[in-house]
Symmetry: C2
């Protein structure tokens, strides 16, 4: 079995690499805790494989919502992050979605066509 977690971020937000990394960490931790509580065996398997995390990007808020909606539709544990503490964008701006960990092929049904966040 191969597991991964995917974090999707908005490329259209003009925030620094470091601020976006903090958003990614929020999404990763929140989604990981969901999975840990729902399916501890899967969580442990993911960790034992090295807790693979991949960061992908979308171009807009609308695309971010669409990714989140699709993950929810497939029943993959996922979280939408809106950060209150950012000084670079209005409070409550949606910044990232954390998806899984889950089986790679399940997550690819949601994010398979998205590009790596460079």
């Amino acid at each position: 079995m191969r597991y991964k977690q995917v974090i999707v971020v908005r490329k259209d937000l003009k925030i620094s690499c470091g601020k976006m990394a903090a958003q990614v960490a929020h999404a990763s931790l929140e989604a990981a805790e969901l999975v840990k509580n729902r399916d501890h065996k899967l969580y442990r398997g993911w960790k034992q494989e090295g807790a693979k995390k991949v960061v992908l990007s979308v171009e807009s808020e609308g695309e971010l919502f669409e990714v989140y909606r699709r993950a929810q539709e497939l029943g993959i544990p996922s979280v939408l992050i809106r950060d209150a503490g950012l000084t670079e964008v209005p409070p409550g701006t949606p910044t990232a979605v954390g998806i899984g960990p889950d089986k790679e092929e399940r997550i690819d049904r949601v994010t398979g066509r998205l590009k790596l966040y460079k």
Copy 2:
């Protein structure tokens, strides 16, 4: 009480923003789990305050080790991340340190003089 988690990354590594964000997420999750297991009350307090995360930078591997050593010396739960899965640097390269969550002033004794990761 104010809590935070700090993640320190190496600015001298020429890896993309997205790859570094994944390293930050590794460091954040590993350090958070340490704290959750050692001091659940503190962990819960940090989450209730919004799970503040700050990403700072150093200029070299030596400085990263020094930050990690200092956190350990003060007894602050911390992790050193070496990523095996990076294609952009040699396997095992130390990339990031995750520190806490812990009280802000305790963490500032380790990272107070470091710059924000831009």
